[in-house]
């Protein structure tokens, strides 16, 4: 496997990590903001509502994580197949 291919893998992976992590953290921030803004300026309710909605919010985050993982899998698999092909 040549050096350029390895460099490309590292760069594409870094790009994927950066984009997906930021995308999902922004998504979660928006969800939290919606919760807080729905509390009619009553902080006492915030923690309770966060707790009640934990499962729903985290389920969405894990779904997004699984989708991003598929992209990472593809990147790794392509590199792996090329490494194997180089052997022949």
């Amino acid at each position: 496997m040549n050096r350029e291919r390895h460099v490309r893998f590292v760069e594409e992976l870094g790009d994927l990590q950066d984009k997906q992590g930021k995308r999902v953290s922004r998504m979660l921030s928006r969800a939290l903001l919606k919760i807080i803004r729905g509390m009619e300026r009553k902080p006492s309710k915030i923690v309770k509502v966060l707790r009640v909605l934990r499962r729903k919010i985290m389920k969405e985050a894990v779904i997004e994580m699984a989708k991003a993982q598929l992209k990472a899998k593809k990147l790794g698999k392509e590199l792996g197949e090329e490494k194997l092909a180089d052997k022949d």
Binding site: L33, I36, K87
Partner: protein, 146 residues
């Protein structure tokens, strides 16, 4: 025992949940602290909203934890997939250092001088699996020697 990407997802999902629970606790503590200081509910609310909008305090910590977990899971997954093509083979594999890194950890430097089979590397730790000092940030890879 080969590492399955589904297991990696389960671990990361657990970490996301832990980060969210920590956020709940941290916000609860922040609210109580402000109350003790005599801050009004209206002001507490405004401060929390500002913290979230600007990713400060507990919210900033939560955002950082989420992004870190994405770094870990995506890095580990890609590395697992790229190296497991050699599983079950008897190929002699060399440890190729990350060509983009300015410096390498001592473990990767040591490994880069070795040639081993997949099973042998699995015992030591495959690239990116956290067995080296650079941990899951390792972007070295295995290639066929020769």
């Amino acid at each position: 025992m080969p590492i399955k990407t589904k297991n990696i997802l389960n671990i990361s999902a657990g970490e996301l949940d832990r980060a969210y629970r920590a956020l709940e606790t941290d916000i609860g503590v922040e609210i109580e602290r402000m109350r003790v200081l005599g801050i009004s509910d209206d002001e507490i609310y405004s401060r929390l909203e500002a913290s979230l909008t600007n990713n400060l305090g507990s919210f900033g910590k939560f955002k950082g934890a989420i992004e870190k977990e994405f770094d870990i899971i995506l890095g580990e997954t890609a590395q697992v997939e790229s190296n497991q093509v050699f599983e079950g083979t008897k190929e002699e594999l060399k440890w190729e250092l990350d060509p983009t890194a300015q410096e390498h950890c001592p473990d990767c430097l040591d490994n880069s001088e070795e040639v081993k089979t997949f099973d042998e590397w699995s015992m030591i730790g495959l690239p990116g699996m956290g067995n080296t000092q650079c941990g899951t940030y390792c972007r070295c890879t295995l290639t066929v020697s020769g």
